[in-house]
């Protein structure tokens, strides 16, 4: 990125007294929101790949239970020891890979990429701010994230391996496994949560305080709104899990019984604990975070999609106001739906009626969001470049994921579908072809701003079509498996239950193949990403997509302090094809 730094540095107002910082200052201990964003992005992408590799091992095990894992089996045996004996995946290893796949994908890949990377890079630019409100807190936030990631990573190599109780870490299972994997997980979580808290404080304060003159609330790009709400979700939903983590850590290390009831037996013998705790308390605290968390995963993606759709239909977003109110409503409601993950823990009629009502209510603003995006397409002049393809694919993919949330949200249908592959299908549709596509769209879209060069379109399109195919071949069959009654987290892929000849088991194999295809489909992307930094087509201007928002009004790449002169905002974010205007876009900072 450094190379282009100078070639494209026509940042006129680059303050003269501002001397160039050294390497450490610039790349490692930086307080510049853009560099922190890039740090977040790269770290998160590496974790994304890592989480996917874990999943490939698991998918192999599901398709061929008990067969040594090809290629990496012997390596796993060497570094992990007995749990990977003979290169085969033991149930313990399966469980820890499963738990870590979930944890890594959610807390170390998607959230940091969506919130940490895009939020950091784009939000200050879009609101016309020189940086985050608290640059040093911002740096600390990244460092906490990094430390949390390291702790999670190390936990694979301790005796007994990483946490094995699922990403949900239900007690008493989480406390009854006699290794320290869970303790590492909990300490790692405390770091990750603290990181998110610092990030959230920073984002919200930045959006409240550093909006450029004229940037009123109703002129904020929708992406900023999405990040704003996301910030609140992180700020207020994470602390309870932090408290819960501390309590579970106490259970783990100091023998307390916060989540352990009286009379608990381990291996058939009464456990030596005081008892009196409540396993369901953990679930409440976890899901109080857990549900807002899923909106943390999706909202930034929606924000990105909104920006790209407006830009590539060359037309305003339909119903900006309802978008804003919907996203606020989602944020608010997401705090009172959490127990729809707990219908089958024993819920009376009243309380479950409450939670399923709120669950249904929250689906309405989601429908509104999607509807607004769909209607925005009508009357546009749609360009199908790579970012737009990803953004467009996001819509039906999220649609499938969201719609399949409905039968889970009604407790009556959840009775049968709970904890089956139907659930796995549901949420992967939202987070994988949903959020990941949204984030991919964002990478292709803002790459020219970050580097001054485009990413390659051909490689991008290959990446897109094969990813789309791969994602659907992986996740659509899971609905059928779920309807057939296949439970999740099965180390043998369900063969004990179904017998090997069942259709559901046959699908396992095809899903695994599709997952490999999906992985291969990422190769063009990785190549594209790194090659384009130096070799991509250069942008013609600071505003290559002819966009309206302030992020495109900065020099490319934006220098420290972002704007040459303080931007002033005169209009809403999506003034495309305004009647009477000279061009088909009118930037927010352009005087009439």
């Amino acid at each position: 990125m450094q190379a282009t730094n100078h070639t494209a540095a026509h940042g006129g107002g680059h303050e003269a007294h501002h001397h160039e910082p050294g390497f450490m200052q610039k790349y490692i201990f930086t307080t510049d929101h853009k560099m922190i964003g890039i740090q977040y992005g790269l770290t998160a992408l590496i974790f994304l790949l890592f989480g996917f590799c874990l999943m490939l091992c698991m998918r192999w095990q599901i398709a061929h239970p008990g067969h040594p894992i090809p290629l990496v089996g012997s390596l796993l045996e060497k570094v992990l020891g007995d749990v990977a004996k003979d290169g085969k995946m033991s149930p313990d290893l399966y469980n820890s890979f499963g738990a870590m796949h979930g944890t890594i994908m959610v807390f170390l890949a998607i959230v940091p990429l969506a919130f940490g990377a895009f939020g950091n890079y784009v939000v200050p630019l879009q609101i016309g701010a020189p940086d985050m409100a608290f640059p040093r807190v911002n740096m600390a936030s990244y460092q906490f994230y990094f430390l949390g990631g390291i702790i999670m990573f190390i936990s694979f190599f301790i005796p007994g391996g990483a946490a094995q109780a699922g990403w949900t870490s239900y007690s008493p299972l989480a406390t009854s496994i006699p290794t320290h994997g869970q303790a590492f997980w909990l300490i790692g979580m405390v770091f990750l949560i603290s990181s998110s808290l610092l990030g959230a404080v920073n984002f919200i304060a930045t959006i409240i305080q550093l909006r450029a003159p004229g940037m009123t609330w109703m002129r904020l790009p929708f992406f900023v709104w999405a990040q704003f709400v996301t910030g609140f979700l992180l700020l207020l939903a994470f602390p309870p899990l932090e408290a819960a983590s501390v309590m579970q850590l106490m259970d783990n290390l100091f023998g307390t019984s916060f989540f352990l009831p009286t009379g608990l037996a381990v291996g058939g013998r009464l456990a030596d604990i005081s008892g009196g705790g409540s396993p369901l308390l953990w679930q409440h605290l976890f899901w109080f975070l857990g549900h807002p968390e899923v909106y943390v995963l999706i909202l930034p993606g929606m924000g990105i999609v909104c920006e790209i759709i407006a830009n590539n239909t060359r037309k305003t977003i339909w119903g900006y106001k309802s978008l804003v109110f919907s996203v606020l409503a989602i944020g608010f409601l997401s705090f009172i739906v959490w127990a729809h993950h707990m219908y089958l823990t024993g819920m009376g009629t009243k309380i479950s009626a409450f939670f399923q009502t709120t669950t249904m209510i929250i689906s309405i603003p989601s429908v509104i969001l999607l509807t607004c995006f769909f209607i925005s397409l009508w009357g546009g002049s749609i360009r199908f470049n790579t970012p737009m393809l990803f953004a467009l694919a996001f819509l039906p993919m999220f649609g499938i994921g969201g719609l399949t949330g409905l039968p889970l949200g009604f407790n009556a249908s959840d009775i049968y579908l709970h904890d089956s592959y139907y659930v796995i299908g549901h949420f992967h549709y939202v987070v994988a072809p949903g959020t990941i596509f949204g984030l991919m769209a964002g990478i292709y879209f803002w790459f020219p701003k970050m580097t001054g060069r485009y990413m390659n379109e051909t490689l991008g399109k290959i990446h897109f079509w094969f990813s789309l195919l791969g994602m659907n071949l992986v996740f659509a069959p899971m609905f059928i498996q779920g309807l057939k009654g296949m439970s999740r987290r099965m180390a043998d892929g369900g063969t004990t239950y179904f017998g090997a000849d069942d259709i559901a088991i046959k699908l396992n194999t095809s899903i695994t193949h599709a997952a490999v295809l999906l992985g291969l489909a990422q190769l063009p992307f990785i190549v594209n990403l790194f090659l384009s930094i130096r070799n991509g087509r250069k942008v013609e201007s600071d505003n290559p997509w002819q966009a309206t928002t302030l992020d495109w009004a900065t020099p490319t790449p934006p220098p420290h302090g972002n704007f040459a002169t303080e931007p002033i905002v005169y209009r809403g974010p999506y003034e495309y094809s305004s009647p009477g205007a000279a061009r088909d876009f009118t930037p927010q900072g352009q005087k009439v």
Binding site: I208, F232, L236, A237, P240, P261, T262, G263, S278, L280, L281, H284, F288, F332, F335, I336, A339, M342, G346, M347, G348, T349, K350, I351, F354
Partner: protein
Amino acid sequence: MSDHSHSSPDATAHAAHDISSHVRVYIGVFVALLFGTLLTVGMYYVHFESMAVTISIALFIASIKSFLVAGYFMHLLDEKKMIYSVLAVTAAFFVALGSLTLWSSHDLPRDSKMKTHYVP
């Protein structure tokens, strides 16, 4: 948004006598807090029949004390709208967390048993 209140962030806007009147309030609050503490402890040694009464009184006094601290020491009585909104949202979610969790631990399927060992 009342910009011309006492806690206008512009330090120079504060006349010194303005602050010294604040100081008198702080001392008053301090005395009230001490008194509240005495009350709380005293209440403990006076035995009320029902636990509910004891809890209500203790929490009532604690609420008054926290109102004093938040209202005067933290200048919350004289704060900006933005802060109020943030705190209101937080309070709502805190109440939701506590009350819904408590509610769901009491609304179980008919004939469920709790608090006991698994043996019915």
